[in-house]
Amino acid sequence: MSDMNAEETGSAGAGAGEGGTTAGLLAEMLRNSRLAAFSLAVIIFIIAASFAAPLYMPYDPNKPSLSERFAPPSASHWAGCDDLGRDQFTRLVYGARISIMIGLVPTSLSIILGTALGLVSGFAGGRTDFFIMRLADVVLAFPSLLLAMVVSYTLGGGVTSIFAALAFVGWAATARVIRAQTMSLKEKEFVESARSVGVRESVIMLRHILPNCIPNIIVLFTLNIPEAILNESALSFLGVGASPPSASWGLMVYRYKTYLMSYPWLAAAPGAAILIFVLAFNFLGDGVRDTLDPYMKD
């Protein structure tokens, strides 16, 4: 069995042509996995639809219409109208922007911070490593939602404080993963080989170790986005999220839960939107992970 796999797949790989780059692998994944490709299409569609909304949406998301208060879903109002008679579907489409921002901004921040700290921690070792990792231990010991609540409370609420809160909560897990990978890469012969030809340590870290962490970073990124979206919606639901004019989906559920028994669609629709968006990201993330998994092994 071992002899079937080792040399065979090695030399057979030579025929595959592309596949050396992460981008090539991901392109191959989209060709092979219908689910991942479909999920990506859904995500792109939602993003495009929400940003292009003013171009084609017949309703204003913030304009009340008293005659249509609590109108049930119909052909003209796909997801009904809310307590002020605003078209809920329009509000959902506009609300997607917040979810996207929430998905991307704090995740990017936490990935950048986590990668930098993990890389330094794993490469430098010693006291630097000890300090950074104990800090990560501390952050990871908090239930993330509670910590985000506190940070957002401290910073006084609003979108930026949510960004900061989610980034503060998210970096530690990334740092741990990248540190572990850095430590294992550091022991690889190709790093020793670079050292033996006289390459500087800083260059080794950036040119050899960081690029080899990229598959991991991409996987962490795709899997952290849905988590951030869920966390934000939870914060909004608990009333420590973004403020009302920019209604995020979580906040919409929070606001309409009082009407649950009489007008259930009001709370159901934004929740379903969160579920679909998060599910699409998770399916995509799974596909990415399965594709890049062999390249993440140490």
Binding site: E7, G10, A14, G20, E189, E192, S196, V197, G198, V203
Partner: protein, 323 residues
């Protein structure tokens, strides 16, 4: 052989790895305990021994990829320990290493060009990229790689081809000394032969000096001029290759040579002299001669006094009982 100038001289190298953690008593692995040897220009010195004997560590100490706990290495008369980091980086141009595992020793995210060009770029050998590329192509053809392979990634090559890439990279800076750390042990026999032939050719053409680290005695006998046999961090015996293979002096060398399965059924023996027991731990090596716990010829003195290297003609061996 004595006419050749001395290239590298290692003097009483000691390497201890501390395995120390929070709340654990300090354990030191005595990987190398007082190893001295020299290499003359143009020759091949082999370091042989079983796993855990410290031969790879010695190779890295010779290049100062590891900082020794004790002892010194002189390369062309310069004490490597006295050099600043930048001076050390500069002297690395003259000494290179080829690794055992062709799967792990090439950065999987780099193309062949970048791998081979890295030493050239690092030392700013050429001003223009065109010159660098010309040199890379020249190296590739010298080690038997096709020019069309320059833009491929390591995973697109077989083990033997990867080892060729590693060799091209090691030769890029025209080194004098090349440490070959088990360069063929991960390869199939037929590929092994190709790589060994390549190494021999290169040595002849470029006048290279090899420090050849291997556990494969057949390979060592084929390629080396002199041999150092190691056991648990110490040298047992050193001398010209053929002398040692014909008449090993040290008891461990005898067992080692006897143990190798010979590719000739006529050489089968009904009763082979087998070395009993297992390798002692390098954390807690036996006192005196480290081989004495497994040595059938050992006496009382072996457990108490560490044998020094003594000369026997062209050879040296560390055993109390050799006359």
């Amino acid at each position: 052989m004595s006419a050749r100038p001395r290239l590298l001289e290692a003097d009483h190298l000691v390497m201890e790895f501390g395995a120390r953690g929070v709340m654990r008593e300090k354990q030191t692995v005595q990987a190398v305990s007082g190893v001295s040897f020299y290499i003359d220009e143009g020759e091949t010195l082999a370091l042989v021994g079983e796993s855990g004997c410290g031969k790879s560590t010695v190779g890295r100490l010779a290049l100062r990829l590891l900082e020794p706990t004790g002892g010194s290495v002189r390369f062309e008369g310069t004490d490597l320990g006295s050099l600043s980091p930048s001076e050390l980086r500069a002297i690395r141009r003259k000494m290179q290493i080829i690794f055992q595992d062709p799967y792990a020793s090439l950065d999987p995210r780099m193309k062949v060009y970048s791998i081979i060009a890295e030493p050239l770029v690092t030392h700013r050998v050429y001003g223009a990229k065109r010159e660098t590329e010309a040199r890379v192509r020249e190296l590739m053809s010298r080690v038997g790689l096709g020019p069309e392979q320059i833009d491929r990634y390591p995973h697109q090559f077989s083990g033997g081809q990867r080892q060729r890439i590693g060799i091209a990279r090691a030769l890029a800076l025209n080194p004098k000394l090349v440490v070959c750390d088990e360069p063929v042990s991960a390869l199939d026999v037929s590929i092994q032969a190709q790589i060994l032939n390549l190494l021999s050719d290169l040595q002849e053409e470029l006048g290279l000096t090899y420090l050849f680290i291997s556990h494969d005695l057949g390979v060592v006998r084929h390629i080396s001029d002199r041999i150092c046999v190691m056991f648990l961090g110490r040298l047992c015996e050193t001398g010209p290759t053929e002398d040692i293979f014909r008449t090993p002096l040290h008891p461990y060398t005898k067992f080692l040579l006897e143990a190798v399965p010979k590719p000739d059924p006529h050489l089968r023996k009904e009763k082979k002299a087998l070395l009993a027991g297992e390798m002692p731990s390098p954390v807690n090596p036996p006192p005196g001669c480290r081989f004495h716990t497994r040595c059938p010829e050992s006496g009382d003195i072996c457990a108490q006094v560490t044998p020094e290297m003594r000369s026997f003609g062209a050879r040296q061996a560390a055993c109390h009982f050799i006359r």
